[in-house]
């Protein structure tokens, strides 16, 4: 490098920031990373920010969580509480519970941090759910993003268990009841259930160990795995670049939007503060998880309205609606009443996780997809997604059946029966209704393209007829409304060729053809308007 002659020639030093960057680049090679990413383009749409809500609430959880670990004692040793909260004076509680009371009443700002932590956790899982559904309904899980979809799904599931272990840490009556439920569920596992339960709890329930064990899982193990998954998830988003909705100038081979520096740094960075601010204001005004009135956990005490946090609610619904079937096999008991819900619980989640792979098998589409679908243009997929959400919601309602009973003056027994039936019926009904709605929207789009937008202006023709004047769509709008892919159903092909030779067609292929017809057949989607149709209609439109 001719730096010596350069500096003597110009006698000017680069600004301090530049020198620091140079120093870092010389050791880390950051300029090549910066070159690829500094002006990376991100498209603008509010639904693309739902993942950010999840990301930022996760960061908020970690920040507040670290604070809480400085004050929380993850121990089940019993002490008499003598802090400042009067209704707990002298009560025997675990150190975990006592330290949580201390955080809430004797550490200034402690209650605020606890509430931010818990509200952020509820919002974190909600945001992941909504983000996951956005990705689902826009088909953004298609190649090359299938692995990222799985990473995201894992983040959601791990988040559920991180939340569960987290809110069970204070060892209060509500969360302890949930831990008892978990133990009962573990006991129902055939052959190894009792062993698993003894190992998890270090003996019989409740034992002296589960709070400390949950603490390691909640603070170290699960967040560690989640951080790794999160980094991988974000790297892939950057690497693949974000999907975008169809529109003028947007193709499958480009991405249109604003650059990371400065626009997205400001918008996304700013959004972090906005999310944090909103959660903070909520935590200032609304109580969450008031353990001081829940009381310490005792296995012989319970309260009504005992539900887990919302993200575990669907498992609560499953366990409430399952009939109490027990099968007695010689000297053993198969506890179907608990074991079946335990097995269905991961299946509900798996159903949405494997969907991208089923769809890609059915369509046989191996191209990369970077244009986000409008949900109406994938009617069968959208219907499946809506049916899954309906299924999930039915289970949530089942989990809260006692609150539904008291608030709507209904019998809890009737609600349970309703949910039992809706569990099977509701997804099917919602599937069909959603598909009809999508088809209707597709028809409307087609009408708009071919006949133009209804302008609201009424015109009277010379012979007396009233018509509505339609306004032709602009070129941009015509393109946007017809840019979507429409597949044709997969056909197995003739079983015998022209020489009369039969070929073997596997059952898998036949199933695939049937499913493909369900996805792309005549009843499953409205064909896009073709250029010929359009020209025919516009040329004859004349007076419209």
């Amino acid at each position: 490098m001719s730096t010596a002659s350069e500096s003597t020639a110009t006698k000017r030093q680069a600004p301090a920031g530049e020198r620091v960057a140079d120093w870092a680049d010389g050791r880390l090679g950051i300029y090549s990373l910066a070159k690829a990413n500094m002006r990376k383009i991100f498209p603008d749409h509010w639904s693309f920010m739902l993942g950010e809500v999840a990301l930022y609430s996760f960061i908020i959880i970690i920040l507040t969580g670290v604070y809480l670990t400085l004050f929380f004692h993850p121990s089940m040793n019993e002490v008499e509480y003598h802090g400042s909260y009067v209704p707990m004076q002298g009560v025997r509680v675990s150190e975990a519970f006592a330290s949580t009371l201390d955080i809430s009443f004797d550490v200034r700002g402690g209650l605020l941090v606890r509430q931010i932590h818990h509200w952020a956790a509820l919002i974190f899982l909600g945001a992941m759910f909504v983000h996951m559904m956005r990705v689902f309904f826009t088909g953004a899980f298609r190649k090359p993003r299938e692995i990222n979809w799985l990473f995201g799904f894992l983040l959601f599931v791990l988040g559920m268990f991180t939340g569960f272990t987290g809110y069970s840490l204070p060892d209060d009556l509500l969360s302890g009841t949930g831990v008892r439920f978990m133990e009962g569920a573990v006991l129902s596992v055939p052959i190894v259930g009792t062993y698993l339960s003894m190992f998890l709890f270090g003996g019989e329930f409740p034992g002296h160990d589960f709070v400390a064990r949950f603490f390691s899982v909640h603070v170290l193990l699960l967040p560690g795995i989640m951080l790794g998954l999160l980094v991988a998830h974000l790297i892939l988003v950057f690497y693949h670049k974000h999907t975008q909705f169809a529109g003028p100038g947007r193709t499958n081979k480009n991405v249109v939007g604003m650059p990371l520096l400065p626009v997205y740094m400001a918008k996304a960075g700013g959004f972090f503060f906005l999310v944090f601010g909103v959660i903070s204001v909520i935590s200032a005004t609304f109580t969450v998880n008031p353990i001081w009135v829940l009381g310490p956990y005792r296995p012989d005490q319970v309260s009504t309205n005992a539900q887990p946090d919302w993200y575990m609610g669907f498992s609560e619904g499953l366990i409430r609606i399952m009939p109490g079937w027990e099968i007695h096999l010689w000297d053993h008991t198969l506890v179907l009443g608990v074991f079946v819900p335990l097995m269905v619980f991961p299946l509900v989640l798996a159903a949405i996780a494997v969907y991208p792979f089923i769809e890609s098998w059915v369509t046989g589409d191996k191209r990369e997809h970077h244009i986000a679908d409008r949900p109406r243009n994938a009617p069968t997929r959208t219907a499946f997604g809506a049916a899954w959400i309906a299924w999930y919601t039915v289970m949530l309602v089942g989990g809260g059946n006692d609150l539904v009973a008291t608030h709507f003056d209904l019998s809890i027994n009737s609600i349970t029966w309703f949910v039992r039936i809706a569990f099977f019926v509701m997804p099917v009904v919602v599937f069909f209704i959603t598909r009809r709605i999508c088809l209707g929207l597709q028809r409307r789009d087609k009408e708009k393209v071919l006949h133009g937008r209804e302008s609201g202006i009424i015109k009277r023709l010379p012979h007396g007829e009233f018509i509505e004047v339609h306004e032709q769509l602009s070129q941009e709008q015509l393109h946007t409304l017809t840019a979507h892919d429409q597949h044709k159903p997969y056909e197995v092909g003739p079983e015998t060729d022209e020489n009369g030779v039969q070929r073997k067609v596997g059952r898998g292929q036949k199933l695939r053809a049937r499913l493909s017809k369900g996805y792309y057949g005549e009843q499953a989607q409205i064909p896009k308007p073709s250029a010929e149709e359009y020209q025919e209609i516009t040329s004859s439109h004349g007076h419209h």
Binding site: F105, L111, G184, M198, G203, G324, V338, K366, E476
Partner: protein, 355 residues
């Protein structure tokens, strides 16, 4: 528009790309739906009017300033508001002052930074749409070929293919090693053995009222009342109290003897006083919502319902079997006592539980 990736399952004529003009095609007279390209940039008021831009700047600066003031407010609240002060804020009610003050000031401080940054981006930063090209994720044929070649070379050099003994024993070693990790987990807890089959109840143990910690007499319990009991000798500050009460918790109600339908229930009762395990046979919550007119007891967790006039059999809900009954009688001093332990394990069912 041919992306990388083979189409062996879907013949080309089925693909949308081959059926009509795809994306990115230049608008031609034949295709009314062709992509017209990026729309022209429309300036914002701040782009053309310096006054408007200055106004935006002032708004952003004001937001950042409010944030600073809010942070100062946070610090002031922390220092001045006592941790046990409550204020009445309409319409929320009587709430903790410190939590409210800290949370609101922090919230405003954070929100205004965000709002300032976003307003700045939206109104003052360039809003010209930019285009970036995408590149297929999969590598070029050349790269792929080179990688395959390198791999073949490396694999050959490793001699793994040619030397099956190495290969097999290597897999054996690697597969076996994780077992040491699994074995280490053995001491997480004891073996179940018969722990779940026994509770503290035994012949002669008095029934102690959980409210008063006094032993119960039959005349203490009237028809329609609900009493919770635990075995004598169990104290709340015992090391194993939680574990023992999780199995030994007892629920006592009194029925008119003629209302008891189950013969064994009547035999095991004392003058219509029946003692049932309080621990639900579903997943272990305390069943304790006794409806005195129907004699049904409901578990609040998952709504298992048991009929205490009929052997506590399950009449609704997900529980699999009836609540275990404790056989009771009265001792010479007139106190209620157990006649033995429960005759079946209490609480949730499990694999080794005999019917």
């Amino acid at each position: 528009m041919s992306e990388t990736g083979s189409h062996e399952n879907v013949s080309d004529e089925k693909l949308p790309s081959a059926q009509e003009n795809g994306h990115g095609a230049v608008a031609t007279a034949n295709d009314p739906f062709a992509d017209p390209g990026l729309p022209p940039h429309e300036p914002r008021i701040q782009d053309i009017d310096e006054q408007a831009a200055k106004r935006s700047e002032r708004v952003v600066a004001m937001l950042f300033t409010v944030s600073m003031l809010a942070t100062l407010g946070f610090i002031a609240s922390f220092v001045t508001v006592p941790v046990d002060k409550y204020v009445h804020i309409w319409p929320i009610g009587n709430i903790g002052a410190l939590n409210f003050a800290l949370g609101m000031t922090l919230g405003v401080a954070l929100f205004c930074i965000g709002a300032g940054a976003v307003h700045w981006a939206r109104t003052l930063m360039s809003d010209h749409e930019m285009v970036d090209e995408r590149h297929p994720v999969a590598a070029e044929q050349e790269t792929r070929a080179k990688v395959m070649e390198d791999f073949q070379e490396g694999a050959k050099e490793s001699a793994l293919g040619r030397r099956p003994l190495i290969r097999k024993t290597m897999f054996g070693a690697l597969a076996l090693l994780p077992l040491s990790g699994v074995v280490l987990l053995r001491d997480l807890g004891p073996l179940p053995e018969d722990k779940l089959e026994h509770t503290l109840w035994a012949k002669g143990k008095l029934l102690v009222n959980e409210n008063t910690h006094e032993p119960l007499r039959p005349e203490d319990i009237s028809v329609g009342s609900l009493t919770f009991a635990m075995p004598e000798g169990l104290e709340e500050d015992d090391e194993e109290f939680q574990k023992e009460i999780a199995k030994a918790a007892l629920m006592l109600v009194r029925l008119e003897p003629e209302d008891i339908k189950d013969k064994r229930e009547l035999d095991w009762s004392h003058e219509g006083i029946v003692a049932y395990s309080k621990i639900c046979t579903h997943v272990g919550c305390p069943v304790s919502l006794y409806e005195q007119q129907t004699h049904h007891v409901l578990c609040p967790c998952h709504q298992s319902t048991f009929d205490l006039s009929d052997g506590a059999r399950v009449i609704f809900g997900p529980a699999g079997h009836a609540l275990p009954q404790l056989k009771i009688s009265v001792n010479n001093d007139g106190f209620l006592e157990a006649q033995g332990d429960f005759e079946e394990p209490v609480g949730p069912a499990y694999w080794e539980r005999r019917a």
